[in-house]
């Protein structure tokens, strides 16, 4: 479709409605958050963000998000590979299940963890303590951010032409060398995009880690739980400051997403 200037009253009306809607939905809330947080200047915000509790929450969020992104980068890549390249009974079943974390409520995920690893849980004698611990929070973070790498890498992997690979392989390149020199460069872009989406999802997780982590200040409290507790304790400046910081990180992620977003592939 060709881009053009608005040339009729109906087009003008349509554009007006869309812009008004987008402004109310996207821009107004951002503006409200900024003006709320910086009502008394920048200093209270900086003070609120450098309290020990806030720093501990940020550290935990960073740890969880980066670990989850690493785990899902590696295992997601393996899953995508197996789902595209291997033929085995149940492949369709597993492929269909990959999207599940996307639609299961995070609260339900946290609840499943309590059922499995809680004090009266099915696996209460499990060697690693997962209920109300950072390890458990990592597990649910990995779960909620699982689909992204797989779903981004899968189409690129499926669209890869075989000739180069076959040539490399026939010429005696090992599997690993073929992967590293031929396949990896092709999927790198999709993989990076998937990892960025994984990071975004992991940073923003709240429901599941609130249930399984218990939100103990300074121990299992992440940045999002910190915002929640501050709202609850009627400590607005702490809540708004952390929300602004999380929003800022989201904007950075958004910039990366826009740079990496696959062009609208034909035939989809």
């Amino acid at each position: 479709m060709r881009e053009r200037n608005v040339n009729s009253w109906a087009g003008g009306l349509l554009l007006g409605v869309v812009l008004l809607y987008a402004a109310a939905l996207l821009f107004a809330p951002i503006f409200a958050l900024l003006s709320g947080a910086f009502r008394d200047g920048i200093e209270p915000v900086l003070n609120a963000l450098t309290t020990p509790d806030a720093l501990a929450a940020l550290r935990l969020t960073a740890t969880l998000a980066i670990s989850a992104a690493l785990i899902n980068a590696i295992l997601g890549l393996i899953c995508a590979w197996v789902l595209v390249r291997h033929e085995f009974p149940g492949r369709r079943f597993f492929n269909a299940l990959v999207d599940l974390p996307f639609v299961v409520s995070p609260v339900i995920v946290g609840y499943v963890m309590i059922v499995l690893f809680g004090r009266m849980g099915w696996l209460k004698d499990f060697p690693v303590q997962l209920a109300f611990s950072v390890e458990g929070m990592l597990l649910v973070t990995v779960f909620v951010s699982l689909p992204f790498v797989i779903r981004e890498v899968q189409p690129t992997l499926a669209a890869l032409t075989n000739e180069q690979e076959e040539a490399a392989y026939t010429l005696g390149a090992s599997q690993w060398l073929t992967f590293r020199r031929i396949i990896f460069p092709t999927i790198r872009h999709a993989l990076t995009y998937g990892v960025v989406l994984t990071l975004a999802r992991a940073l923003g997780e709240f429901g599941a880690i609130a249930v399984i982590g218990g939100g103990v200040q300074g121990a299992t409290e992440t940045a999002t739980i910190y915002v929640f507790r501050s709202m609850h304790d009627r400590n607005p400046i702490s809540a708004y400051s952390m929300a602004v910081l999380l929003g800022l990180i989201a904007v950075l992620i958004l910039v990366m997403m826009n740079k990496l977003r696959p062009g609208h592939r034909k035939g989809h």
Binding site: V84, D99, L146, Q154, G204, L254
Partner: protein
Amino acid sequence: MAQAAAPLERQSLLADVWSPRLSSWGLRASAVIYLTVLIVVPLFVIGVEGLRNGLDSFWTSVTRPAAISAVWLSVWTAGVMAIINTLMGTLTAYVLLQYRFPGKRLLDSLIDLPFAIPTLVTGVMLVLLYGPQTAIGGFFERELGVRVLFAPPGIVLALLFLGYPFVIRAVQPVLAQLDIHQQEAAHTLGASQWTTFRRIILPALLPAMISGGMLSFARALGEFGSIVIVAGNVPMRSQTGAVYIYGQVEGGNMGAASAVSLVMLAIALATTLGVDFLYRWRWQHART
């Protein structure tokens, strides 16, 4: 998300090259174990826990007034959102592709913000914008007698923010590859812009619109982070299904939590299966 499921069908001689090795078995085993532990096991747990005390107890838990009202609130707010979002998302995608206007690049790059920002932060933003003490929230409450925040309208607003990219991103690729000639032919033959839209563009877009809308519905159904901030969470009035489950788990009432979880999950799964079905249907119709 769902569109990625299509390009699975592919076999080549590489399958033979790669698969008979031991390393390939290792890969397959890790993938299967990973997906089983992370997805099949939780699914199994929800099913078993939901029904472990028998159908009677499941039924009692699900039909408690607070549970019914919570699930229904989730369903209708997500439904209202999906309808508005399908309409506005399609129009946004259309405008972004058709027209030149100032601020276009900014709007285009902000579309994915809801994917990038923690939903809890969305909730905080909405409190600052529509809360009872703010200018807008105060106006609505005093002049129009409508409570926006800590009431169902606040839930719909939060979900609208969350769902905005879904329809746009589903519709955009289809819109981009629509046949220009068809449109121009219709136009030169004297069809008005509206007729062109109604007769040529809309039918082609409908499957993408509906699946984008349904996906946003499925995603919104279980939303927790923003809702728990903006909804007020009063049982029977502004408590959604996810918040209800949270309350039951915190209160140690696992039976009620598991039954309602099962219902919510079933609705979400049915919706995503519907999306999948729609994609396959479109796929087949695109070929014939």
